[in-house]
Amino acid sequence: MKTFDFAQPTTVDEALAAWEPGSAWLGGGTNLVDLMKIGAMAPDKLIDIKRLTGLDQIETLADGSTRIGAMVSNADLANNPDILRRFPMMAEALLSGASGQLRNAATVSGNLMQRTRCAYFQDANAACNKRSPAQGCDAIGGVDDTAAILGWSNQCIATNPSDFCVSLAALEAVIEVQGSSGKRDIAFADFHLLPEDTPERETALQAGELIVALRLPTEAGDFAGNSRYLKVRNRTSFAFATSSAAAAMQIKDGTITKARLALGAVAAKPWRLAKAEALLIGQAPDPALFAQAAEAALAGASSSNDNDWKIELARRTATRALALAAAGTPARMPALPASPFVDQGDSLNA
């Protein structure tokens, strides 16, 4: 592989000072190192941020929101008892991804920054506008079955592979970033970008900015009783989603008072569905209602490849996730693997 510089700062300030064009932040390395080995990424400098102090805490802030340090491992977050109780959908999403070993190494901010699993992005010999702007997109007309059905452009049809981010989109997380000019917050919905004509730009981070934490607003805790992350895939475990959905509701006296719905594996970003959510609010939970919401959710979908079937699958995934959420979060969370074949046991709401 290409020779690169390696820096190991111990504070955020040192890390920011170490950054120069061509650098890449190294968290758990579970994605970046693989991409470097196969030549899909070739940074000039790696800045190891695992040693930065103060980024590995999970805390409840005075306003009731939850702050998760950028270097908290996926495993530590998913198995934190308070997180499990308050945000079971997020834990379910985390635990449906990768494997135990990878979750130990992977970090929450690294998860936000992971690259698409599009085979043409990963293949340094293929044309990819994301890797090399204006090179073209070989995925169009190709055989990659991760291709998008929403929000794609004729420059790029790649999807965001994250499970965790789908739950964060549904829970309206906020991302705290820090750069040489100071700190700022980015709303989750604004963090990942659609490809349009600039597929090489994947996030709202400015050059040299570093994610230092995520915050879940107090309201995100309102869905603990009725929220699920459903991941659909051909292999039971250790596979990216073919389609997925994060569905969350607050149900009072038989009426849905709050609703959240986001889809995964369908677009370059976790696909939040405000229109579908609006259809649910004020209604009684009902299979026909869920089907109607899912129909609305996929109204703008179109195949980017030979993947018409995925539109139908995403619709069904959304319908099922809503039904599962309405049925109540299982008492024993997370249900592993996140699979309809596992007996889900008693519901919290039962």
Binding site: Y120, A126, T236, L313, F341
Partner: protein, 748 residues
């Protein structure tokens, strides 16, 4: 002349025991050194550039840039590649293929080596290879079966199946009152043993030592020696541990020959280990097939015809045509039988033998077709198979050496609960509302023997050394082989020292074709028996021995004693015989193979019946295999633990074939776009639940002296069809391609 080869061998207390692997602790503690774990002093690392196009020509390599990179010592291209003494197109051993060793600038498939870089570190070699930045003249790639004309390749041996025809096929078609004509497609699959191909090569004059995973040590020595113009004995091949082979490690490969050549050029040891991506190209694969099956039945649902036409991919420069259609020979009693193989030349690496070559793909299609025929005839699939049960080999009429398939059907069906299966599809829901389906398939796998030699040395101290180059692919062969050896000498396992995995030892043959235990085990048994025969002769001539005068009655050994064969009353202690004879080592030699006249007399096969349950989400169409029962009749079981493990492994490969494995070529470049284990899926633990193996007792006096048939591959046969048939039974949808995925069921 007696009807049997020999009376079944008498065994002592070792065979039949479920011993754990002798090398298990070494492997789980990391003490076991695999080939690429060796790093001799002064080592250079090799990395080769795989072609990124499938067809065309390399027009430029930036050799200067690669050479300028720090640490790079050599850049080998077609322009400067040192000569080989052997012709890379020559098929030098029984199983070998034309190899790609930088003969010219032509690209024949994606992944073909087009240059090799040597460097002081692996990182420098890898970066040097990248810096070569190859430029190509590209021709359109053909990687799908419909992208070239089917051809017939005359049978010339390995890789060019002959097919077969028995009975009047036209009459069979005409006589059918019901018939089906269906086509099943199977994809290209890649072996992907856990350990990738590797070699550490070190020359000393005109002798070379190779640390290399190999399924056939001595045959490989001969193969590599040929390319370097040296006698086979000048090649020392060490393969003490193997991280799987699946058929891909039995023959010389281009990358490995290049690395050995590079070591000679550099005058330093060279290590090459293929990356996972590089496993998709020059080291063989299972070729894609399209199989047309025409079946017809009479009013009693007896098959009037079984007509199986296979179309399989091969490369543009060599022949390995998946012998899939031959899976329809030897199993069902059809009035007429026909198996035809045709090929399509594509811009792919040459396919090769992989996990039940022919049987796996062929059985997948055949067992699904049988299910479709049963459906049309309105019969339970098991009942339909029983109506077409063959008591002698169909077509030839040869007797089977043994065939407990009926018992496999009975025991497997009983354990599975098959009798409760509704005839119609889409009838069963589980308590979570999942569509549930049950399917079955029959398994047949031949039990070939190759040739192997072994040596046994009984020492004066009552211990023994047994030696053969036989390899352990990870399945526990050395444990089972040691059990056989210990019994042949009448010794407990702890008295046995077992040396294997080194080419200087007697030729242990090929670990392939499911014939390794029978062949290498047969040689070990013969070597031990030779020792005991000599010992018996010594005792027979010794007036002090209870065996005095036993003459040539024959001897067997058990529990440290030598007995007159068939006369339990006459025996002597091994230690006593040895002591009286002056405490010299007794050395015995043994060989095993099956004479052609023996092979011709009987049809020799392992058999099995696999029953599978799948559950499928009625909306999301995720498919999960929730239960499988496989009942197998595989001759004598040497080690029940390892046998069960092998058969289970085969059934898991069946799940893999049915639901997961598929190499996907980009239709434009011909490159495989999922050439890694993140994209090329095999089952994970969570995919494997409720797996059960039954072994049905079988005494086979004809296959070999030990009655061993082989268990390496049959587990995967029958399983694929069983799962596919269960999917139909759950959903009512017939998917006639593999793997079967969510999208296939959504599309209906």
């Amino acid at each position: 002349m007696p009807d049997t080869l020999t009376s079944p061998a008498r065994f002592g207390s070792n065979a039949g025991q479920p011993l754990t692997r002798r090398d298990g602790i070494a492997k789980v503690t990391g003490v076991a050194n695999f080939a690429a774990d060796n790093s001799p002093a002064n080592l250079l690392h090799a990395f080769y550039v795989p072609a990124s196009i499938a067809r065309g020509r390399v027009t430029h390599l930036d050799v200067a840039a690669a050479e300028a990179h720090t640490g790079v010592t050599h850049v080998i291209t077609p322009q400067n590649r040192p000569p080989l003494q052997g012709d890379p197109s020559e098929k030098v051993t029984m199983f070998s293929f034309r190899i790609e060793v930088l003969q010219d600038d032509t690209v024949r498939y994606a992944g073909q080596p087009i240059a090799m870089v040597l460097a002081e570190t692996l990182e420098a070699a890898t970066e040097g290879a990248r810096l070569l930045n190859p430029q190509y003249e590209v021709e359109p790639a053909r990687t799908a079966l419909d992208q070239n004309e089917p051809i017939s390749v005359p049978p010339q041996g390995f890789g060019t199946p002959a097919g077969a025809e028995h009975g009047d096929v036209a009459a069979g078609h005409a006589a059918a009152v019901q018939s089906i004509d269906v086509t099943y497609k199977t994809p290209a699959q890649y072996h992907n043993a856990m350990e990738t191909h590797a070699v550490v090569a070190e020359w000393d004059g005109d002798k070379v030592t190779l640390d290399m995973p190999s399924q056939a040590l001595n045959m490989s020595c001969a193969g590599y020696a040929y390319f370097f113009g040296i006698p086979a004995e000048n090649v020392t091949l060490r393969s003490p541990y193997l991280g799987g082979g699946f058929g891909s490690k039995a023959f010389p490969t281009g990358p490995q020959v290049l690395a050995i050549l590079a070591a000679r050029l550099a005058g330093r040891p060279v290590k090459l280990m293929l990356t996972r991506q590089q496993m998709f190209g020059p080291v063989g694969h299972r070729g894609a097939t399209s199989q047309r099956l025409q079946l017809g039945v009479d009013v009693d649902a007896a098959l009037t015809v079984l007509d199986h036409e296979g179309l399989a991919e091969t490369s543009t420069f060599d022949d390995f045509i998946e012998p899939a259609a031959n899976a329809s020979q030897g199993l069902y009693a059809a009035g007429a039988l026909k198996s035809v193989h045709r090929a399509v030349r594509l811009d792919v690496g040459t396919p090769g033998p992989m996990r039940a070559p022919g049987e796996a793909s062929g059985s997948a299609a055949l067992e699904c077709a049988m299910d479709e025929m049963a459906e049309l005839a309105g019969l339970d699939p098991l009942e339909f198979r029983l109506r077409n049960y063959a008591d002698t080999e169909p077509g030839t009429g040869r007797p089977y050496s043994s065939k407990a398939l009926r018992e496999c059907y009975e025991q497997g069906a009983a354990r599975f609960g098959w009798a409760d299966r509704p005839l119609e599809p889409r009838q069963m829901l589980d308590k979570n509302g999942m569509l549930t389906g049950w399917g079955m398939g029959t398994a047949l796998f031949p039990c070939p023997m190759f040739a192997a030699d072994a040596r046994a040395t009984l020492r004066a101290d009552g211990t023994a050394l047994v030696e053969t180059s036989a390899v352990d692919m990870g399945q526990g062969a050395w444990t089972a082989l040691a059990q056989i050896a210990a019994d042949s000498l009448g010794l407990p396992m702890e008295k046995l020292e077992f040396h294997a995995g080194h080419s200087a030892l007697p030729d242990g043959g090929v670990a392939g074709g499911s014939g390794h235990t029978a062949t290498a085990g047969g040689a070990l048994h013969a070597a031990g028996s030779d020792v005991i025969r000599q010992l018996g002769e010594v005792a027979s001539n010794d007036p002090a021995s209870p065996l005095h005068g036993a003459g040539n009655a024959g001897f067997v050994a058990r529990n440290g004693r030598v007995y007159v064969e068939g006369d339990e009353s006459r025996s002597d202690e091994i230690a006593a015989i040895m002591a009286r004879a002056g405490s010299l080592d007794v050395v015995g030699n043994g060989s095993a193979s099956r004479p052609p006249e023996v092979a011709a007399k009987h049809a020799m096969n392992s058999h099995g019946a696999v029953f599978a349950e799948v559950k499928i989400d009625p909306d999301l169409y995720q498919i999960r295999v929730t239960r499988m029962v496989g009942a197998f009749a595989v001759g004598r079981i040497i080690n029940p633990r390892l046998t069960e493990s092998q058969l289970m492994g085969g059934m898991i490969w069946g799940t893999s074939f049915a639901l997961h494995e598929e190499a996907k070529h980009d239709p434009r470049t011909g490159r495989i776009m999922n050439a890694n284990l993140a994209g090329y899926h095999v089952p994970v633990n969570a995919d494997v639940t409720g797996l059960e193996v039954i072994t049905v007792h079988e005494d086979d006096p004809y296959v070999n002296a030990l009655g061993i048939k082989g268990v390496g591959e049959i587990g995967g046969v029958g399983s694929v069809g069983a799962i596919a048939n269960a999917i139909w039974h759950a959903t009512g949808t017939r998917v006639r391609r593999f793997p079967i995925r969510i999208e296939d069921l959504i599309r209906g």
